[in-house]
Every structure is written in C-alpha cells, then in structure tokens.
C-alpha cells in the first residue's frame, strides 16, 4: 500500500466540529506522552489527556487545546473525539487567566481543609485546563 501524502483530520467535540481538513502532520497529548503523527502512521486508538496539540498544513502550524478524549489514527485519517477542545485563536486570554486564578484560590481553600475531595479534583482539573489554555494561547500569539 502506498503511503498517503496527507492526513484527513476530523476533530470533533460533542458541541461542534473544530477542524475538518487535510493536514501534513500533527501532534497530540497522548495519555502516555506526546505523539507525533505523519501520514502512513500505523492504525492506533489512543486516549488523550489535557494538553496542547498542533497540526501542520504546508508551512503553517495551527495550535489547539484538547482535553479528555480519544484519537483514532489510520494511515490516511485521524479522528479526534474530545470532550473539550479549542483552537488557539478562539481562546480568550483574559478569561483563561481568570479561570486559573479562580482554580488556584479553590485549591488554596482545599489546602485549608474547607472543601471536599471532589471539589479538590474538580479544581485540580480546572487549573490544569487553565494553564494549558494559557500556554496554547501564548503559542498562538508568538506565531502571529
């Protein structure tokens, strides 16, 4: 089988389709580390964690943010099913900053023993998400 030259990327969340495009290369935050994917990759199903992702189309690189999902990788096609996802350009820097501060405050409260275990987990995830979003949006800024 000839190696395909591009990857058809389908990036969806329950709410909407984020990307539907042919790309040349992409990187995803897999549960066991980052994965770089080029056309012709061996078929794979992989869990994703919260993190930054990017894909390259020609010379242009697009950054995005993905959390809690799966990716199905086929030689000529990649399907990403994520619970939360955003394009770097859509991320509101100030809102992410505010979310990060909120999450940090919440964690501080947990440390003082005022909130339950469940809230701790929730705050931890929120913080993780906020930090990643900030990183991703910074990428987008340096690029533009």
């Amino acid at each position: 089988m000839a190696i395909p030259s591009t990857l058809r990327l389908e990036f969806v969340t329950p709410e909407r389709e984020i990307v539907h495009d042919d790309v040349d290369e992409l990187q995803l935050p897999g549960e066991e580390g980052f994965l770089g994917i080029l056309p012709g990759h061996t078929p794979m199903l992989v869990g994703l964690k919260v993190g930054a992702m990017w894909y390259r189309k020609g010379a242009e690189k697009f950054h995005g943010f993905v959390g809690f999902g799966f990716a199905e990788v086929l030689p000529d096609r990649v399907t990403i099913l994520a619970r939360i996802a955003e394009n770097a350009d859509d991320i509101d820097h100030d809102r992410a900053e505010a979310a990060k501060r909120r999450a940090e405050e919440r964690l501080a409260e947990v440390a003082r023993g005022r909130v339950s275990e469940m809230d701790y987990e929730r705050a931890r995830i929120a913080l993780l998400r906020a930090i990643t979003r900030l990183q991703v949006s910074r990428h987008a800024r340096t690029r533009s």
């Binding site: 389908e10 969806v12 969340t13 329950p14 709410e15 909407r16 389709e17 539907h20 897999g30 549960e31 066991e32 061996t42 078929p43 794979m44 199903l45 992989v46 869990g47 799966f70 199905e72 086929l74 399907t79 099913l81 619970r83 939360i84």
Partner: protein, 286 residues
C-alpha cells in the same frame, strides 16, 4: 356604543402589543438560526463516536457493559422520563404538546412505576405536582446550552440506571422539523442501542494505548451525553421556531383586530357627525 376615546385607547393598546409580538418574532428568528447551527454541530461527534465504537466492538465484551444491559423490565418495569420543556412561555403549543404526551404515557402505563426528570420551568409547573417521583429538576437553562448542561442531565440518568433504580430511561422532547412544524420525539436513552460489530474487511490491527475495553467503557457515556445534548439543542431550536410562529400569528391577529376596531371607530365617529348634522338641521327648521 363605546365612546370614541375608549376605542382610540383600545387601538393604541393593541398596537403596542403588536409591536411587542413583532419584536419577539424577530428575536426568535435570529435565535433560531443560531440554535439550528448548534444542532447541526453535534452531528459529527455522534457519527464519529459510533464509528470508533463499531471498529473496536469486535475486540470487547459488550454483554457486560452496564449502559447496554437490557434488564427484563425494559418495556414493562420502572422507567424514567426526561421531559424537556422551555423555561419561558409564549411559544404556542410547544409545552402543551409535551405535557399532553407525557400525560398520555402515564395513563397508558398505569401499572408501571414512572419517575420523571424535568428540564425547564414549564414542565415543572405542569408535571411537578402530579405525585410522580421527581428524580431531578433542571430549570433556568443558560441561553447557550453547552456540554456541561447535557452532562449533568446524562449523569443523573446514568446514575439511576446503573444503580437499577430504573430499568429504562426515555427522552421526551420537541424536535425541530421546520419553522412551522415541531415533531414530538419519544426516544429511548438507556439502555443504549447495541453497537453493531463491524466486520473487519481489511483486517486492520490497531495499536491500543489504553485497552480497547477501557476506551469502549469511556466512550459509551460520552455517546449518552451527546444524545442528551442533541435533544436539548433540538428542543431549544424547536422552542424558538414555535415562538416565532406563535408570535407571527399574534402579530397577524392584532393587525386584523386593529383593522376591525378602526372600522367600528370610524362608524361611531360618522354616526356622531350625522347625528349632530341632523340636530343642527332640525334646529334650524324649528
């Protein structure tokens, strides 16, 4: 005979109402367009998720998954209805139709134990006090319905289903068919329709980073959430469509009313003038 002044007042008040209904119609129309786009936006995920599930279904044991479990009571035992209504009124038969359908279901299934999950204030107002157990109430939905809302509804349903409090869960909602038409949908949410096993035609052998069973287990609830989300969005699109038609009809009715009132007003006015002339003429003759 009503006095002229009274009639003028009445016409003015109807005109004001007409302006409001016209504005509401426009607002509903623009909201509808956005709501429609959001409904369409949910489609790719459901399709892709089903596709991925199908491709791994051959490698996992489906029979033991709690969300797929067909307990003997699926069609006769306890069930939960998740009823989706709107928070606000003035949308024609939108909520009435839902409440009627639920009422019919309750009458037809007297022997079954039915509990309700109510979404939207109107549903709570109509069904909240009928003596059926209410599993959850969810009112005050945000203007933009997102995944978080669907998640909380789906979580409640999944929790009751897996803990065997109910044997099945159904969704009752209005589906957006067209601006003039909303379809009433009564669909089963849990147990889920079994995932069809895909025949491996090309014999692809996947690498799995977590095990296929884990991926399967984690993807299934996502699919339930996606179904709930779609229902919520359909319901909101249908609500805007229903409001738009209702307000359009109201605007037309008020135009008719203004016409009628103006006609009677002119008749009254003319009668008064005629009477005055007769009085003047007969006064001059005397």
């Amino acid at each position: 005979m009503p006095s002229l002044i009274d009639m003028r007042r009445r016409i003015r008040s109807v005109k004001n109402t007409q302006q409001i209904t016209k504005a509401m119609k426009m607002v509903a129309a623009s909201k509808l367009r956005r709501a429609q786009d959001r409904v369409i936006g949910t489609r790719p995920f459901a399709i892709q998720a089903r596709h991925v599930l199908a491709s791994i279904s051959a490698r996992v044991d489906q029979s033991h998954h709690p969300l797929l479990a067909k307990r003997p009571g699926v069609t006769s035992g306890t069930t939960m209805l998740i009823v989706m209504t709107s928070d606000r009124g003035l949308c024609g038969g939108f909520n009435t139709n839902i409440v009627k359908a639920v009422g019919k279901f309750l009458r037809d299934n007297k022997e079954r134990e039915v509990s309700l999950g109510l979404v939207g204030k109107k549903g709570r107002a109509a069904l909240g006090r009928r003596g059926f157990p209410i599993r959850f109430e969810y009112t005050g939905l945000p203007k933009v319905i997102g995944f978080a809302e669907a998640e909380s509804v789906a979580e409640a349903a999944i929790a009751d289903f897996t803990s065997a409090k109910v044997d099945s869960v159904h969704l009752v909602y209005n589906e957006f068919k067209s601006v003039m038409q909303q379809n009433l949908i009564f669909e089963q949410l849990l147990p889920m329709a079994p995932i069809e096993v895909e025949k491996k035609e090309d014999g692809i052998d996947y690498l799995y980073e977590p095990s296929p069973q884990r991926i399967f287990d984690e993807l299934l609830p996502r699919l339930v959430e996606a179904q709930v989300l779609r229902a919520l969005l359909e319901s909101s699109a249908a609500e805007h469509a229903a409001r738009m038609t209702a307000m359009d009809a109201a605007t037309r009715n008020s135009a008719e009313m203004i016409e009628g009132l103006t006609l009677t007003m002119n008749k009254v006015r003319q009668a008064a003038i005629t009477r005055e002339i007769i009085e003047v003429v007969s006064g001059a003759q005397a």
